[in-house]
Amino acid sequence: MDQATVEQTNRSVLRPMGMSLSIEQLNAWYGRKQALFDINLTVPPLSVTALIGPSGCGKSTLVRCLNRLHETIPGARVEGRVIANGLDIYGRGIRPMNVRRHIGMVFQQPNPLPTRSIFENVAIGPRLNLGLRGSRLKELVERSLQQAALWEEVKDRLHSPAISLSGGQQQRLCIARALALEPEVLLMDEPCSALDPISTLQVEELITYLKRQYTIVVVTHNMQQAARIADRTAFFLQGHLVEEGETQQLFTHPRKKETEDYISGRFG
């Protein structure tokens, strides 16, 4: 069985249930500076979880701990567990590259590979991880670009360099790149910060569609957005998880004073 078939088999088995993440006692440091303190949070499968909080509170750090990207920063360190479908991603014998391949990520700043073509940018994940080539690869790239609502804009210039796209298009290209690997979980760090309102709306619709088959964690500064798309929302302050719950619940009846202050715009 080639790698692509194995993956597809696994997907078929797992997709109906989706992947849940359960973060337990997670602490993260940059050198001596601690950025996350004892985070406990459960991300249900096939749902959208929004992370909100003022700038610098550790949202990006948490997201980067979920696909083992945090530890690639020199001096950075993580302690605690992140259980994905019963398996700790920080457990022994788990390869980070395998975790990252199944937990996709879209970064705060669009980061396409500038010298590669649009096509290559999307194709590179499946090419490396699944050894896909030829028409299957083409189909996958087209499908991913369509999902990211970019296909119509780029279908005639798939082979021009990615750097020729606008900022918003680049961000959607990065979404397509993550989707091309058909990950179990999709981490999105402020995916709309570089987008105009129409593309933002498209991405929001996309997220709502995708949650049927993907577990999604999305960082956002926009509370209306969180209210629109998220099933659950978690509020962070200075590296601590202050409150977490059903989005409706959290926005209408926050239990903590800090949460109320933040969502009513009194600070942050």
Partner: protein, 306 residues
């Protein structure tokens, strides 16, 4: 908006077809191959680095350990003995090198510094860009070309090799180094400092001379030291200009010795005593350059960043 979804899960799956956790599906041949390639790259680049570093460290160690054996006080204060008799040193080479470096600095430092000031303070537009480019190119011209230049310009008309010609050739080599480092450090001087001075009514010239240059002093000195260390080791341009001598000489119109020149000539010498002294000279030269690099690193905080 209609978005095509990923292939929907098929129900045609035989049960027992592994409920493998996705994180554990690493044992495919593709992933094995990727990890193998990765390991091979790590291994081969490590070997390349070890080989390169080992080779160079061996060379350095060999020359240093040989040289150390033949160093004594006489080596710095005495003249070479004739015909490789025991004893003696290469005092005249140290004397000559000092004079040559001073001559070179006399020419290279002002030219380089003012060109650097021009580029940093007024250097906008295509002319400055051209100057910058030319200075960089000047830096890559083989140094023997400058020896040739001084030979044609000074040695042949004067009909004698001379320290002056050597200093001129070395000065040409210093110019681009001093120019580039001083331009770089002058650009680092904060804008506010200039603006404050100008706002207080100082003229532009005064501002640059009395505020900007002192603020950049350490950096400029670093650049000059770097340039001096560089020309201290230059041999080729001195062959046909300063030429070398085995006697004390402070007359810049006469042939003059230099440390690298003496190392070169004693290396080729048939006498073991002189070969030994060539090693000793190499030791001193390497140590001088090591010290200069260390000083520059410390002054610019180069160890912290990387």
């Amino acid at each position: 908006m209609s978005v095509p979804m990923p292939t929907s899960p098929s129900s045609t799956l035989q049960s027992g077809e592994s409920h493998l956790h996705p994180f554990l599906t690493t044992r495919s041949s593709l992933n094995l191959r990727r990890r193998l390639v990765n390991a091979l790259v790590v291994l081969s680049t490590t070997l390349a680095a070890l080989f390169a570093a080992g080779l160079l460290i061996y060379l350095l160690y060999y020359v240093l350990s040989q040289g150390l054996r033949y160093i004594d006080l006489d080596f710095f204060t005495q003249l070479p003995t004739p015909n490789g008799e025991p004893g003696g040193g290469m005092g005249e080479a140290f004397q000559g090198s000092l004079i040559l470096i001073a001559l070179a600095s006399l020419m290279g430092v002002p030219l380089g510094l003012f060109t650097g000031i021009y580029l940093a303070e007024f250097g906008r537009g295509p002319f400055a860009q051209g100057v910058r480019f030319l200075v960089d190119v000047l830096n890559g011209i083989p140094t023997i070309i400058f020896g040739l230049l001084a030979w044609v310009l000074i040695v042949i008309p004067m009909q004698t090799f001379s320290g002056l010609a050597g200093g001129f050739a070395l000065g040409m080599i210093m110019i681009p180094i001093v120019t580039r480092t001083s331009e770089d450090v002058l650009r680092l001087v904060p804008r506010e400092l200039r603006e404050a001075s100008l706002a207080l009514g100082a003229t532009e010239a005064r501002t640059i001379l009395q505020v900007v240059l002192p603020a950049a002093r350490n950096g400029i000195i670093t650049g000059v030291v770097l340039a001096m260390a560089r020309v201290a080791g230059e041999t080729a341009p001195l062959l046909m200009t300063a030429f070398g001598t085995t006697f004390w000489n402070t007359d810049v119109t006469q042939p003059m010795d230099a440390l690298p020149l003496r190392i070169f000539q004693f290396t080729l010498s048939p006498y073991q005593q002189q070969v030994n002294q060539a090693y000793a000279g190499a030791f001193v030269l390497i140590v001088l350059i090591l010290l200069a690099s260390l000083a520059v690193r410390l002054a610019t905080g180069g160890f912290k960043q990387r």
